[in-house]
Amino acid sequence: MSKSSLKQTLKDLDTKKISIRELNQDYLKRIKEKDNLNVFIHFSEENVLKQIDNLEKDNSAKKLKGIPIAIKDLFCTKSMPTTAASKILENFNPTYESFVTQKLLDEGSIFVGKTNLDEFAMGSATNTSFFGNTINPLSKENEPLAPGGSSGGSAAAVAADLCLGATGTDTGGSIRQPASFCGVVGIKPTYGLCSRWGIAAFASSLDQAGIFSHNVEDASILLQSIAGFDLRDSTSAKVDIPNYFENLDDDLNGKTVGIPKEYSIDGTPMEISQIWEDAIKVLEKKGVKIKNISLPHTKYALPTYYIIAPAEASSNLARYDGVKYGFRSDEINSLDEMYENTRAQGFGKEVKRRILIGTYVLSAGYYDAYYLKAQKVRKLIADDFNKAFKECDFIVTPTAPSAAFPLNEKQNDPIKMYLNDVFTVPASLAGLPGISIPFGKDKNNLPLGIQILGKHFDEQQVFNAAVSLERSYE
């Protein structure tokens, strides 16, 4: 597959080497061909053609004019339904546009469709969606692989070259892990860099929008477009957004990389330890100082995450009650019955599991032992990183403990599924930016990912390290 980059495409459009219509028709053709991957929950050719028509009439210069972008179906969009991959929002048509997608629209991009995800972003394989599994485009015939999750549809859309970039959300690894599984670049910026306004909430203190793309340069262009302060989100940060792309600098000479010893976990496949070592060697050659660091509370990150995220989710998802919008059960004889049946029938198994866990950890008598303690541990985890970043400029780890696994492998074992997030969750709890870039393959020729973590709002350093590793790998 020879995929054109966003950077190149922008040049080609600028020099009229290709028209917006030609470009998008090429993508439309591929989207239709790859229908079997079940990448999109919503796709309408008509809608794409309408967007092309409108852009052709528009003479103003726009940064992403005509660029095909796929949108995770957790972002509310006016022109397309928004389902969060849940039956409970099956026919929901927002009257409003999320902050992130509005920014992309303002810059002239074309939305090719709404991508599949785990229901309400709860999952690591895009297999909890009401609309069925998405298949990893790298699967061999008759051996379907999971694309990772929750943003598996967006990762697959980029991997299958159905768009030049895609939006995702990352709560505990939902961008970085699928990026790793699908062999694409995925960045989760610092918590607060992109407004959450208009994104159906999973866990408010962790949810963060981000980008999938073919390469680091493209990610740097797209992230700049969706970042920025928003008055409507009280947790949105008032920071200047640099021109990440213009500032890209692959010269890491004199920088220090932190290598956390706690990320060497028993049972991690050799191949993953190998690419990690490879990455470190590459950096060393580039004049980067290698610093062994310790993030002592790492082992508590996963249990901490699986208390805090479900707790917030149990409350965030209370609004889906059948009263105001979305699915409502037909079997109603009382208000309580309406709630019970609507939510029993409207939510899938994993969502219900997390609502139950979250309700439990917040309940009277358990709050202190679970939620409050988890909040304290979260603080310790954040402190670990703060200390570590006094000694290094960025941190390098593997993204996930495995390559893409077969589609239904961990379906019935939630704990195994949760372990997928082991390397991504700590940075989520600390609110730090992290990127996953493809770096090496396993014995089945499946891509593996390297994760680069940076200081709060130091996305530039993350991009610089990523682009440097990417270029050396190519």
Binding site: L89, T95, S315
Partner: protein
């Protein structure tokens, strides 16, 4: 003071604490920009945030925060520089988010107190535990359709201040005085419109009974009372209910009660086991609320004179009684009216007590009779001042003045106009009064005889006859004096 109530077996004491919910006076809601106007058509003031659409986020309304701080200052309370919004989770059809944003562990206002004044001149402090900000829910309308419930979200998200008292209240009257005092403070501060009928101010009442000197008993909470009358009724009924149970050997279950305003009875809504587990936790959509000392100082400096300060000023300046001064300052409109009246003429400052009486008895009774409010009184403070001056300078009698006030009230004319038009000036001419008296004595020889024989009561008859002849205009004191003089001369 005996605050005890008699049971069958012995005396009981009530222990009462109030949770007052006061709607913050603000044009927009606590976390959204929709309007808070009362009485608009259903669901016409609902933003995406109020309806809890997916992905919508709350943003704190700074004005509501200022209003809460102001109120805290008015309640002599500690303002907390750091407070946190929590989610109180429960399901109800008119609670769109499935949780109410409230403050739990860290309220914006801490401990304070208010003073209530009794008629006998004594007063009492009621301690405040805290004041916190929270969102109101919408309204479920059960009476629009026989088989359906409709939901109106206009009120959803409106800012409330919950003011929690210590259980310092001992009688239904104290409860009434306490809520009146809070209402008065809020209205002076302009932080709540105080309209109990529209539900801008309502209270949950916690009540238990005990034998004097005992530990607190088990309490019940009566929910959502929106008038002082109902609060007193509910407390009385509930106290009797509890006493009856205890005196017959039973024990009180810690229940949440509802008060039926037509039967005057309370009934259990849910018991302790059925109580919600609200699963409070800090709202991750909102940052902790931090208010600097400078901001608090700025808000403090913007606060108007409060009822207690004003009361003390009235007592000192006009030598009014504590009770008169507290009646006068209970509502801002009353104290404003008093101030304007007494300042309308320098002469009136020496007759403050008369001014109080004319406002709080004569004018108030006219207003009540006509279902009107002091705010739109047809008699302006200046006009009332003029009337009182006519009395104090003996130009008209107090009795005539009442008629004049009635006419001022209905016609809008000034006292002077009415008195001049109708020639109501008091007759203070001794010769003229003596003439009238002579006439009365001459016309009633029998009565005079009886009077002189010792029937003193007949003096009133002669006064009445003389007043009749002068159309009530004779100066009563002069009339009395001359009449006595003349009758006694006959003896």
């Amino acid at each position: 003071m005996n605050n005890l109530i008699k049971g069958e077996k012995h005396d009981w004491e009530m222990v009462i604490g109030l949770e007052i919910h006061a709607q913050v006076k603000s044009n927009s809601k606590l976390f959204s920009s929709s309007s808070t106007k009362f009485g608009s058509s259903p669901n016409s003031q609902v933003s995406l945030v109020d309806a809890a659409m997916p992905g919508m986020l709350p943003v704190i309304n700074k004005y509501c925060v200022e209003q809460a701080v102001k109120t805290g200052v008015g309640l002599n309370a500690k303002i907390n520089n750091y407070s946190v919004f929590d989610r109180k989770n429960y399901f109800y059809a008119d609670l769109p988010q499935g949780y109410q944003i409230s403050q739990y562990k860290f309220p914006i206002v801490g401990e304070g107190k208010v003073t209530i004044d009794f008629k006998d001149g004594t007063s009492k402090d009621i301690r405040i535990v805290r004041l916190h900000l929270e969102q109101d829910a919408g309204k479920s309308l059960h009476d629009q359709n026989p088989s359906k419930t409709y939901v109106d979200l206009n009120r959803s998200g409106v800012a409330l201040m919950e003011i929690v008292s210590e259980p310092d209240i001992r009688t239904p009257d104290e409860a009434g005085m306490y809520i009146s005092k809070i209402r008065s403070i809020l209205m002076y501060l302009n932080t709540c419109d105080g309209n109990m009928q529209e539900g801008s101010l309502r209270a949950d009442v916690n009540i238990s009974v005990r034998k004097p000197g005992d530990e607190y008993g088990t309490r019940c909470e009566i929910k959502n009372l929106n008038s002082i009358k109902f609060i007193k009724q509910a407390i009385n009924y509930e106290a009797k209910r509890q006493i009856e149970i205890l005196e017959t050997g039973g024990s009180i279950e810690q229940n949440t009660m509802l008060f039926n305003t037509s039967t005057g009875k309370t009934r259990p809504m849910r018991n302790k086991e059925e109580a919600h587990d609200y699963r409070y936790f800090p709202d991750p959509d909102l940052l902790p609320l931090e208010i600097s000392k400078e901001e608090i100082a700025k808000i403090k400096s913007s606060i108007p004179e409060l009822p207690d300060e004003l009361k003390n000023k009235f007592i000192e300046t006009y030598k009014l009684s504590n009770y008169d001064a507290s009646v006068l300052t209970a509502e801002k409109q009353t104290s404003d009216y008093f101030n304007e009246t007494i300042n309308s003429d320098p002469e009136l400052k020496n007759h403050a007590k008369i001014v109080v009486n004319w406002i709080t008895s004569e004018l108030f009774s006219l207003l009540n009779k006509n279902n009107q409010d002091l705010n739109n009184s047809p008699v302006s403070p200046e006009n009332l001042g003029q009337l009182i001056k006519l009395i104090s300078t003996n130009e008209i009698s107090g009795k005539i003045a009442k008629d004049v006030l009635e006419e001022m009230f209905s016609s809008g004319k000034t006292a002077r106009q009415i008195v001049d038009e109708k020639g109501l000036q008091q007759v203070t001419d001794q010769v003229e009064i003596a003439k009238v008296i002579d006439e009365v004595i001459a016309e009633n020889p029998k009565m005079v005889e009886q009077y002189l024989a010792g029937k003193d009561k007949l003096l009133g008859f002669f006064v009445g006859q003389a007043m009749k002849l002068t159309k009530g205009k004779a100066n009563p004191k002069m009339l009395n004096d001359i009449l006595k003089q003349k009758l006694n001369k006959k003896n």
